[in-house]
Symmetry: C2
Subunit: 150 residues, 2 copies
């Protein structure tokens, strides 16, 4: 695929020639209100750049994997769980998800959360938590509060 040199930004965080895709297969993992746009992916790049947008009150899949994420928030506000830490995030903040850290992003109730995510083009498949792993996370008050969306 030959990328065009320029893809103009369109209103509302869309881009010329970039499709809005499903975040992932709905049967494969739980999530709510997430879309995905692939902004850069090419044979001569070892990284990929994707734009994810979470609708107000929505959330990405709680998962972990060997590959790392480098996230740049572009719009809105929300919170992220990375490992056992919960952080408040807003426009232009940078979030690093290291290898094997459980992570989830949640949009605020009243705003979407849009972010760029840089990732290796070749990467392993995410793992979902077992019931025991989920219970272990929920035993931490800050994580329980995060999952509750409060």
């Amino acid at each position: 695929m030959n990328e065009p040199i320029l893809r103009k930004a369109q209103p509302d965080y869309r881009w010329q020639g970039v499709d809005i895709r499903a975040y992932k297969d709905e049967a494969s993992a739980p999530f709510r209100g997430v879309t995905r746009q692939v902004l850069a992916s090419a044979p001569d790049l070892k990284g990929e750049l994707r734009y994810f947008e979470i609708a107000p009150g929505g959330w990405t899949t709680l998962e972990r994997h060997q590959h790392a994420h480098a996230v740049t928030i572009l719009r809105g506000r929300g919170r992220a769980l990375v490992g056992h830490e919960v952080v408040e995030i807003g426009a232009l903040d940078l979030v690093t998800v290291p290898a094997w850290a459980w992570h989830q992003f949640r949009a605020a109730a009243d705003q979407p959360l849009g972010f760029l995510c840089m990732v290796d083009a070749e990467r392993d498949r995410p793992q979902l938590p077992s019931p025991a792993e989920r219970a272990e996370l929920e035993a931490m008050p800050q994580v329980a509060e995060f999952f509750a969306g409060s």
Copy 2:
């Protein structure tokens, strides 16, 4: 280096714990008014994400290399030369610089131009144009106009 999970955005496109660096060694190549911040660079990422900012009227080095760039404009306005094409760029536009394309970014006279650039962590060194290559570029009216900054 262990990255912190969160680096908060600071006013004016700076980030907590991220140094503003020289764009490149001033003796190595011509440029004007460019700074560099490394937003993501880690052993477990094959890509790097950098934020470059060009002061009003400034410009990056005219160069080419084997590695590709995936650029996302974050602020301001300007123009880019990629190969023989000159494009107008503004916030959130995406620019792809393919392998071996001559390229340069120029900020508008009255605004800075700030952009994210995703690149392979392992990459070749840029080449500068020879006088003959520069003349060949300048023989194209749109490129001559671009270099003149008009």
